[in-house]
């Protein structure tokens, strides 16, 4: 398991290869979040961030068969099209890999202490939290582990 909160960019191919080196793995689901058209600065809460991500990953492991997992989240100044976040989950089962990966992303969005400040032509502004992200995270409350 690898959790990294860093300023530097990351290499998706390398990370996916790294968690794929295990013959019991049949499936790797991954997600990359990218900056759209507006440059931004990402602030975070050092210490709590890693801890919050760790708890999300642990929660995912209680729900699905997760063989390995990598979460990388950047902070600092980011330009349009830059990579922000990578979540990669390796599992023996395709469905588990997908579910755990999407779960971790949804919870990251609502529970990991990151804040985006956009640099628009009109000046800078803090991005507002989306209720759609809360709803995405809430979905998982309704479908806890298999019949548990």
């Amino acid at each position: 398991m690898k959790i990294s909160v860093q300023m530097d960019d990351f290499d998706v191919g390398f990370e996916i290869k790294s968690i794929s080196k295990n013959n019991s793995i049949g499936a790797v689901a991954s997600f990359v979040g990218l900056v759209r058209d507006v440059a931004m600065t990402l602030e975070h809460y050092p210490g709590m961030t890693e801890r919050a991500i760790g708890k999300i990953v642990e929660e995912a492991k209680t729900r699905w068969q997760v063989t390995d997992c990598t979460v990388i989240h950047r902070y600092g100044a980011l330009e349009p099209n830059d990579q922000i976040v990578l979540v990669a989950v390796a599992s023996g089962h395709r469905g588990d890999a997908f579910a755990a990966c999407e779960f971790i992303m949804d919870y990251l969005k609502t529970r990991a202490p990151f804040w985006k400040k956009e640099q628009t032509a009109a000046g800078t502004r803090w991005v507002e939290a989306k209720t759609s992200d809360d709803r995405a995270a809430d979905r998982w409350e309704e479908r806890k582990p298999d019949a548990a």
Binding site: L108, T110, P113, E128
Partner: protein, 85 residues
């Protein structure tokens, strides 16, 4: 008791401060109590920590609700809803 208080993102900017060590009066023992206590400073504090403002809080780097207790030496953080990912 003494606690460490942290401020992030728009809260930090409004207060012009990212952290402070604070000696709390005896009647302040929860996050909600601490927020009221800080708001009493007036000005930017009354505004940034206004009751109407939706803020998240953490104690010792775990998300915690307003009713969460604070102990001596705790690290308490105030910040807006998160927007990473």
């Amino acid at each position: 008791m003494k606690v460490r208080v942290l401020y992030f993102a728009s809260v930090r900017e409004k207060l012009g401060r990212d952290a402070e060590e604070l000696e709390l009066p005896a009647d302040v023992s929860t996050i909600a109590g601490l927020r009221t206590h800080l708001r009493a400073r007036g000005g930017a504090w009354a505004e940034a920590l206004a009751e109407s403002r939706l803020l998240r809080t953490a104690v010792n780097q775990d998300m915690a609700p307003p009713a969460a207790a604070i102990k001596p030496g705790d690290e308490v953080a105030f910040f807006p809803p998160v927007t990473g990912g």
